[in-house]
């Protein structure tokens, strides 16, 4: 067993994959000499050398494009986008080039590329450094999207992403980097992309969570009088239909807990699936617990209100169970 912070688990996963496969190279801003602004590449430069571990200029369009070219010609690059917002300037290379490489080559070429990015709010970074933005990517054919919910999950997803033959985006919630978790590293800890995990079994309600909200949902379920089944979705493209279907057949109620704003969030797809394909299993309207459709606010009081807390999630679910109706979002009550 190892008790590791999430950033240490990510570093370990990358190091093990670099050891295993000399085609794995790592580059990004401040990742080599400075060992990553979130310390996710500690020791990699000294262990693997400057050929395979490189600091880039502040130049996402350039270095993400390079990663695409390197991937398609034989390397397995792992690139770091320090904050997911910085992906904006490099989006073309991810969604229009990397994701379509297999298609545009008549299936002759692949881009085995891992793009890591920090996401999420809760650290007081303000509206341009606190978003999750996975919705920019959902629906892009050819792209896989995974989101880590802690050290063990980050380790398993990072290794799976590096080994995958397609472009994979691994999103890492920033507030979790420093949190420790006990787990057993090794081959058994590598996750299959596209598979979720039941992290707490229950019978009254299925709670689907992702990334930072897995901990929130778990805390809510553990404190509640009702019996919640908490699913860590882990991958949102492709996502695990079956785990949700199986759970709903048991509970009859669906709640998604999302860090993103309401409109266009990943939970909309889960709810759509449940409403159209698990209709007969549902005993109540599906509910989405999300942030409001506003920029992430600065300052602790507002940021704490913005993010779904475990107390708020618990209240929403209790209300659903009691009334059988969709509870109002907190901001609806204040408008």
């Amino acid at each position: 067993m190892a008790k590791l912070r999430m950033n240490q688990a990510i570093t370990l996963a990358i190091a093990e994959e670099m050891e295993r496969d000399r085609r794995v190279v790592v580059f990004g801003e401040d990742i080599a000499e400075a060992e990553g602004s979130f310390k996710t590449s500690e020791g990699l430069l000294s262990r693997f050398g400057p050929e395979r571990v490189r600091d880039t200029p502040i130049s996402e369009m350039g270095f993400l494009g390079m990663a695409v070219g390197a991937a398609v010609t034989g390397l397995r690059p792992v690139v770091e986008i320090m904050f997911i917002e910085f992906l904006g300037v490099a989006m073309d290379q991810l969604v229009t080039e990397a994701a379509l490489m297999n298609y545009l080559s008549g299936h002759k070429l692949n881009a085995p590329l891992t793009v890591r990015a920090s996401v999420g709010s809760g650290l007081g970074f303000g509206c341009q450094h606190s978003q999750t933005l996975e919705r920019w990517l959902i629906g892009t054919p050819g792209l896989k999207i995974a989101v880590a919910s802690g050290a063990r999950c980050a380790y398993g997803l990072t290794k799976a992403a590096i080994r995958d033959d397609d472009p994979v985006v691994v999103l890492e919630p920033r507030p979790l980097y420093g949190r420790r978790e006990d787990f057993e590293p090794g081959e058994d800890a590598v996750f299959a992309l596209g598979k979720g995990e039941v992290v707490k079994a229950g019978t009254d309600v299925t709670i689907v969570a992702l990334g930072q909200t897995v901990g929130t949902a778990l805390a809510a379920a553990e404190a509640a009088e009702w019996s919640g089944e908490v699913i860590d979705l882990r991958t949102i493209q492709p996502w695990d239909n079956e785990i949700v279907r199986t759970s709903l057949a048991k509970t009859g109620r669906l709640v998604t807990v999302e860090e993103n704003q309401y409109t266009g969030g990943w939970g909309a797809d889960i709810v759509s699936f449940a409403a159209t394909q698990c209709y007969s299993d549902l005993n109540a309207p599906p509910v989405r617990v999300t942030a409001p459709d506003v920029p992430v606010p600065y300052g602790t009081p507002l940021e704490e209100r913005y993010l779904p807390s475990s107390g708020y999630v618990g209240q929403q679910i209790s209300s659903l169970l009691k009334t059988g109706l969709r509870p109002d979002h907190w901001w609806e009550d204040e408008q």
């Binding site: 200029p57 398609v72 010609t73 390397l75 073309d92 080039e97 545009l104 008549g106 995958d164």
Partner: protein
Amino acid sequence: MSQGVLGTEQPLGRRAAVQASRTERYARMVEIRLVEESVLKLFGEGIIPGTTHTCQGQEAVCVGIAAATRPTDTVACTYRGHGMALALGATREAVLGEILGRQIGCMGGLGGSMHLSDPSVGLLPTFAIVGAGIPVATGAALTAQVLGTDAVAISVFGDGSANIGAFHEALNLAAIWKLPVVFVCENNLYGEYTRIDRTTPVTDIAVRATSYAIPSDIVDGQDVDEVYAAVAAAVERARQGGGPTLVEAKTYRYAGHSRSDKATYRPAGELDKWLERDPITLFGQKLVSESAADQSELDAIKNHAGALIDQALELVLASPPPTHAQMLAPITATGR
């Protein structure tokens, strides 16, 4: 006519031919010109919907690049890529088939005119986003450096690409890491519908190499020998670990940006001036003056090329459009 000129060889053989023989380079330039003329004609007849970007006038640049590089080198070029694909060795059927959206095309007819590829001769899928291929080529050079192969990457782009961030970021990265990549700018004076002097404060794109401390060269893009020599020198420097070079080829696009563009924005007489320096005519005259070929051989090459393109078109028009199954096929490696 030399044996095998414009024959029905496979891509690697076609590539070897332009590497080995100047007559073959002439023949390939003729082939490209005739293919592009056919393409515009077919689009004009409404056989294919959508758009296409042809390269008449720029044949010497793509053939010079193909002659100076190996099939194991990687080439990332643009949506004006029919000529580059044919020059590198892609077959007439693969290129015309793709442009016409048929199964015989190089990506089964799902890509179209802007999306050609042939990994067997080093051609990455042609980039339809201006400038996007420049960092990708640079990444291919990173692979060569890390794995210690002697492969080189070639990034081919237009003057219009020289104002997008990808160009500057890629040159900067290639320079600091001393990557084996050759940047070839086809300066045809127009970025889409707009003349270079309205979008770009410098006349020569090559001067921008100075900002990144890399060597550069300016060549007559209508002279295939000159393009070949400059690209070959840059490729050799890259192979020897000397890092990147920016080569600017001054050339001209006879047709408009795309098939619907009549290019009325060009000043009167400009096209005629460039037609006087047509790369195929110039090279033919040179071969004759050097006694490397006589006029009857050149005429025969043209007739032969025309006949082969007609044959290819017959095959292409007999090939069906792609199926639903092709459209719905998984596009991830793990999905197949």
